[in-house]
């Protein structure tokens, strides 16, 4: 039996695709079963790092942003030889490079994700806004118009407003979107004018969001028609299909983010742990290869409206029946990486993320000047690591 913990086991889209891959693997390997079980995303990184470090890892290692912490343990098996032998790299998108550490491919990316603008077209129409915003200033104006027009119990903007890892991704989308990064040209750029401007806008909007909610909380409110607009991952489209009432779902639309740049996130990646037997490593590689087959690449990426790792895996008919995929493709095509090009940033991501989340919560819950909070944040980040 192969152990396969994942935070996505029960997520809409991901869960169905993963179960299909598991079934296919089991049908091809008589007597071998895959024990796929859910672990909460917030606990996933800690559990897997602890298991990897203890030399008792699960067999199949899935990762999202957790990848850097897993790689830092030095307990992920390099896939270079297997990838070369299979020829997979020739058919893979460039974002696979995000999983290369010191020239070693430590995981195979399954798909790339991005962030989109979600809006309720009825609320926009009621606010006198004809089309979704296409620039930061239009975004600010639209949220202001919405704040003046939405009924009581509806919020003009949705965002994570509690101590949660989503905060990092949400504010980074604003910073990258408006042309900056946490690190630019080898220096911390937390107090760069573009970063400050982006964080100011993020703060202004997040203060219009219902307080104390994590991603799941405000997505539910968007699905229920109690949030007029938000920026969220493309994978939320399938969540909305599942949880939004029939009278609200048709009003929920997606558009490219209203920024100069969009953000590309590497979605799920699959790795082989170094601390298992060679026989098990071969089995896990078989599992990864099945997940990399065009059929399953198309199924998985299609189910969560993502860009597949294997080029051109989403069938044209799926794109036709799902117009949102066109928006995703258009957004990812010009996207910038979510993480700055810094090995130190990735290696210390856990602590850096925590400091950024705390600083964002300080911005949301106090009247402190944005630039002061960011100056303090930059000082904290500098004390953690060189950029």
């Amino acid at each position: 039996m192969l152990d396969f913990p994942t935070w996505q086991a029960n997520e809409p889209g991901h869960g169905e695709a993963l179960r299909a891959i598991v079934e296919e693997f089991e049908s091809r390997h008589e007597g071998v079963t895959v024990n796929m079980y859910p672990v909460s995303n917030e606990d996933f990184q800690n559990q897997i790092v602890t298991q990897l470090s203890a030399g008792d890892p699960p067999d199949i290692i899935a990762s999202g942003n957790h990848f850097y912490a897993f790689a830092e343990t030095g307990q992920l098996e390099p896939l270079n030889d297997r990838l070369e032998e299979s020829g997979l790299l020739d058919e893979w998108e460039d974002f696979q490079q995000e999983r290369v550490v010191d020239d070693e491919h430590l995981a195979l990316t399954m798909h790339a994700l991005t962030r989109l603008l979600y809006y309720n077209e009825d609320y926009l129409a009621a606010a006198g806004v004809d089309a979704p915003p296409t620039s930061p200033s239009e975004l600010a104006d639209t949220v202001e118009a919405l704040a003046g027009s939405v009924e009581e119990g509806v919020s003009p903007w949705g965002a994570t407003t509690t101590t949660h890892s989503n905060l990092f991704g949400e504010v980074t989308a604003f910073i990258v979107g408006m042309g900056s990064q946490w690190i630019t040209d080898g220096e911390w750029s937390v107090t760069a004018p573009e970063t400050v401007e982006a964080v100011e806008l993020y703060r202004e909007l997040a203060r219009q969001a219902p307080p104390g909610l994590d991603g799941g909380g405000y997505r539910q409110l968007l699905a229920d028609g109690r949030i007029a607009m938000s920026q969220d991952g493309n994978w939320v489209i399938s969540t909305l299909d599942e949880v939004s009432p029939a009278d609200v779902r048709p009003q929920l639309q997606v558009a490219p983010p209203p920024f100069e740049n969009s953000v590309a996130l590497v979605g799920t990646s699959l790795s082989i742990p170094a601390g298992i037997s060679e026989e098990r490593k071969d089995l896990v590689w078989d599992f990864i290869q099945i997940a990399a087959e065009p059929e399953f690449q198309g199924m998985w990426a299609g189910a969560i409206d993502a860009a597949p790792g294997r080029t051109g895996s989403v069938p044209p008919e799926r794109v036709q029946e799902r117009p949102e995929l066109e928006v995703v493709a258009q957004t990812i095509g010009s996207a910038q990486p979510e993480f700055p090009d810094s090995a130190n940033f990735r290696a210390n991501f856990g602590e850096i993320e925590t400091r950024i989340i705390d600083a964002m919560m300080r911005l949301l819950t106090t009247d402190a000047e944005t630039v002061d909070v960011l100056t303090e944040l930059e000082s904290e980040l500098s004390s953690i690591t060189e950029p």
Binding site: E42, N46, V49, T50, L52, S53, A54, G55, A69, E72, T73, T161, T162, T163, H164, P210, P211, G212, L213, G217, L221, N348, G350, E351, T354, I357, D358, A359, M361, R362, L364, T365, T366
Partner: protein, 319 residues
């Protein structure tokens, strides 16, 4: 007993015989040896499950470098820098302050609720048995389940607590309990007190049941109302138990992790970051085990110092 009898019989059998040159342990030595043999399993368990982890934590706290792999710890150089970092870090003292406020407030809340419920159960009310069961229900409920319930009840958008407070006119607008640094600790304290008070109820109820009804009747005859009865009859009877309940609840609360981490993860902006959460973050978010271990040792020292300071009070009351 059999050992002693056998020993005497053997001793008698040799009376008058040639004295053996071989050293033979005395009876008390052999009894002592037997005691140690019988204690050995517990001692071994204590060494494995208490002493060894403490040794590992102290050892880790003296190592320079980050690692999560235990087999690599011995290869790291020794240093006192982790203690220097921990003791000079304002976050340590911030976490200590949060821990102190959290512990004191939880103890006070648990004692008050425990005493009220104990007094309630002691009265001969209809359905008293059901009431006892109901009041003790929070005790066996796992922290994670209690957390889910309280997060839902205290939700800033649709929580029932806000609804009730609005309905009775205490607040005009919903409170985002876990969003505002001013209220986050209060929000976390609610499930903590809810989970801690049943132990206080049980302990105080046991004390209350030893108070004879005649004392209350005599107090009534002397004209004492409920307040004076509590002050002169109830409280003197339960105060020793209350001190013990405070110490037990205080120790439990000081190290409580599940409620705080599951609800706020130490946020917003560190407003609920107790020492337990700070240690967890260092170990499992920043993967800096030596720093986390040094913080753990400092926490142990602080808790130990508090206990030592309280020891005279405990000894005076109980020994």
């Amino acid at each position: 007993m059999t050992l002693v009898t056998d020993d005497r019989r053997r001793a008698g059998a040799h009376t008058g015989g040639p004295r053996r040159s071989r050293w033979r342990p005395s009876l008390s030595t052999r009894n002592n040896l037997l005691s140690y043999v019988l204690l050995a399993p517990s001692l071994a368990m204590s060494l494995v499950f208490i002493a060894f982890p403490i040794y590992m934590i102290v050892n880790l706290s003296l190592r320079d470098g980050k690692t999560m792999i235990m087999s690599e710890v011995g290869g790291l150089p020794l240093t006192l820098d982790n203690y220097d970092t921990v003791l000079s870090d304002p976050e340590t003292w911030h976490s200590l302050r949060i821990s102190a406020v959290y512990t004191l407030a939880a103890v006070a809340g648990a004692i008050v609720v425990g005493l009220v419920t104990a007094l309630l159960i002691r009265r001969r009310l209809p359905g008293r048995r059901w009431l006892r069961t109901l009041i003790l229900i929070p005790w066996p409920i796992p922290g994670s389940i209690a957390t889910v319930g309280f997060v839902w009840m205290l939700d800033g958008t649709y929580g029932v607590v806000n609804y009730l407070l609005r309905a009775i006119g205490v607040i005009d607008e919903n409170i985002a309990w876990f969003f505002d640094p001013q209220t986050a600790l209060i929000g976390v304290l609610m499930p903590t007190v809810w989970s801690a008070y049943p132990l206080c109820t049980l302990m105080l109820l046991a004390s209350l049941q030893s108070v004879p009804d005649e004392l209350y009747e005599a107090a009534k005859v002397d004209g004492a109302g409920p307040v004076l009865q509590f002050r002169h009859v109830t409280w003197p009877a339960v105060q020793n138990t209350a001190v013990l309940a405070m110490i037990v609840t205080g120790l439990w609360t000081f190290t409580t992790f599940d409620f705080v981490y599951a609800i706020t993860r130490g946020g917003p902006d560190g407003a609920t970051q107790t020492l337990a959460v700070a240690i967890y973050n260092q170990a499992f978010r920043f993967f800096d085990l030596p720093h986390a271990s040094a913080l753990g040792v400092v926490t142990m020292a602080l808790a130990g110092s508090a206990l030592l300071a309280l020891f005279p009070v405990v000894r005076r009351r109980f020994f």
